[in-house]
Amino acid sequence: MSTELIHPENPVEQFLRSDRIPHIWCPGCGIGTTVNCFTRALIDSKANLDKLAIVSGIGCTGRVAGYLDLDSFHTTHGRAIPFATGLKLANPDLSVVVYSGDGDLFAIGGNHFIHAARRNVDIKVVCVNNLVYAMTGGQTGPTTPGSVVTATNPYGTFEPSFNLPQLAEAAGAVYVARWTTFHVRQLARSMYEMFQKKGFSFIEVLSPCPTLYQRRNKMGDGLDTMKSYKEKSKKRDGAPTSEVPLTRDGEIVVGKFVDRERPDYLTLMKAQFQASLGERYQEPEMHSGCEFEQSEIDGGTICQ
């Protein structure tokens, strides 16, 4: 009797640069889980992978761009969103996803986040929130809750932290959801919905950092964190975002909080120019390349 393989190869492998595996993430880390959900969303949304670009900043989550077999950009610390803004505005046919961490997006990059949300640039932002700066060794970040020990708060944190969904909603995001890496199906579904939205969309994914957050705070390993996510999570779609802050041991409110319509940046821009300039307005055309016959000069491609 033979056994037929349902999937002769891993169905998400087609989305990965398998020649770059093994990845750098620690055992128990949740970033890989989110990438798995992301690829599921790509399957479900039948995305044209040639027209999908992924932009990351710096940090553990910043490495996601390098593992996905897409046009991918690993930019500077905190600046994934403005890079993505330029990419999207220069080529609106692209679907542009920003995939980065809490420190990258909300400390060094916080200003860019609120302004891109305000402008409603049509980019999708996934924030893997592991509550610390992990790549650099577990320092306090803007989402680190109070009363935990970090590399830079050895006597305990005391700074108030950001409530990311509330920040995103206040700044103008049209889609705001939060899940944990325990909620793989819900997260994949949310990512699918994000691809259907036009405008600045934001998903926060709470993720374990067993190496630098849970271990230091005697919270166990990755599996223990998943158990705690299961116990403490409460799904409340449409919950007022002011009521969803995260604390060290408190309830984790998950769900889709915001799903609304606002005209995006390019729509507003074109409407304004058309109203002001009428037929004089020219739609953006970005052709830096060569449309003429090409020949080889200096080994490079120079137009005649």
Partner: protein, 392 residues
């Protein structure tokens, strides 16, 4: 290829350097600008924001210069020719992204209309204090191309050249104006589009799977693609191998960083353009750039008019004008040093390019700086005095 006529405002104009720079960018093919307001550069993006909706492109005013200097690079990878415009404090904020552009070989132009510094300094008054910053401002090793116009006409002509060099060598180019040149109004002739040469992006003719984004051609510069074409390429600021993947080894670092430098150094003759006036048989060469080159020309005329002599012979003084301060013309300055008495280097800083002149001269001729802290231009007499001293 020839310029796209949509961006070319052919005709004879009376305009300032800032506006001429904007017209040069449009003629050179720029269809995307990201900026943040800062005196005395703002007029460039103000004009761009007014012109671009009828030319076809995008201007976006970003939340700060950190954003502007990376937004433009996103636009480049999206297929646009793009630039940003700033002045001292904003230029300081952009340094990390100049390094990112150098490392990722992203062709783009940074315009810096120099004002007095450090810090907030003199927002509305001229200086030339960012010349070393343009060369060395980002961390690590790389070579830089920088251009210095000394008139509104050159703000137009050389901005086109800046975009062309950026594309030809896949590198950021610094366009180093100063407040005087930016706000000076003169005649600017914009030729017909068919008379303007524009360098297109080096888009590869290879197919996906057969192309590496950082594999150099014979001129050491790799060809390029833009996002959305099916290449599924990777761009990172990490040290990378020719396929773009991070490769943080000593070997990869040496191979990549040495090429980033040598693709500029070894192509010096294609990049460098400087102007020599009356240097045959000269006793003294004034080395100057930007607005200071025009003040220096006045000083040179004064020396001639007054008939100053050394050893009963009239002093012969000429000018070496740095239009391309970076890469620095080491060999030419060295050659001049062998047959003149001295260099005089007036600049609106307390001594930046004069160090390069002195280094390149290698002790064969004296180098006399004429420093000025900025805020106005030199009194020509200070340059005259230095010329007399150099001629001794």
């Amino acid at each position: 290829m020839k310029a796209d006529p949509k961006g070319v405002l052919t005709g004879t104009h009376f305009m300032d350097g800032d506006h001429a720079c904007c017209e040069g960018a449009l003629a050179g093919g720029a269809r995307f600008a990201a900026g943040y307001p800062i005196t005395p550069s703002t007029e460039i993006v103000e004009r761009f924001s007014s012109r671009i909706p009828v030319v076809g492109g995008v201007f976006i005013q970003m939340e700060d210069e950190l954003a502007a200097s990376i937004t433009l690079q996103g636009a480049v990878w999206g297929g646009a020719k793009a630039f940003t415009v700033t002045s001292g404090p904003g230029f300081s904020l952009m340094m990390e992204h100049i390094g990112y552009a150098a490392m990722t070989e992203t062709p783009c132009v940074f315009v810096d209309v120099q004002r007095g510094g450090p810090s907030t300094g003199l927002p509305t008054l001229p200086a030339q204090g960012d010349m070393m910053q343009a060369r060395w401002g980002s961390h690590g090793d790389y070579e830089m191309i920088a251009l210095c116009p000394n008139s509104p006409q050159e703000c137009f002509d050389l901005t086109i050249r800046a975009f062309n060099l950026a594309e030809q060598f896949r590198t950021p180019v610094m366009f180093m104006m100063d407040e005087c040149v930016g706000h000076m109004t003169e005649k600017v002739v914009i030729p017909p589009a068919e008379e303007i040469e524009v360098t297109p992006r080096r888009i590869t003719s290879r197919k996906p799977g057969d192309f590496q984004l950082f594999e150099p051609c014979a001129d050491q510069v790799p060809d390029m693609v833009e996002a959305g074409q099916g290449y599924h390429f990777h761009v990172t600021g990490l040290t990378h191998s020719e396929n773009g993947y991070p490769s943080m080894t000593v070997k990869s670092q040496e191979k990549l960083v040495k090429r980033l430098c040598s693709k500029i150094r070894d192509n010096f003759d294609k990049i460098s353009l400087n102007e020599e006036t009356d240097l045959e048989n000269a006793d003294v060469a004034v080395v100057a750039y930007g607005i200071t080159s025009r003040v220096a020309m006045r000083a040179i005329r004064i020396v001639r008019e007054r008939g100053f002599k050394v050893n009963n012979r009239k002093i012969r003084v000429g000018m070496y004008r740095l239009i391309t301060p970076w890469p620095f013309p080491d060999e030419r300055i060295h050659a001049l040093a062998g047959r003149i008495r001295g260099f005089v280097v007036p600049e609106l800083n307390l001594g930046q390019m004069c160090r390069e002149v002195q280094r390149a001269a290698g002790g064969h001729a004296v180098t006399i700086p004429v420093p000025h802290a900025g805020g106005t231009v030199h009194d020509p007499e200070t340059i005259v005095a230095a010329i007399l001293e150099a001629a001794k």
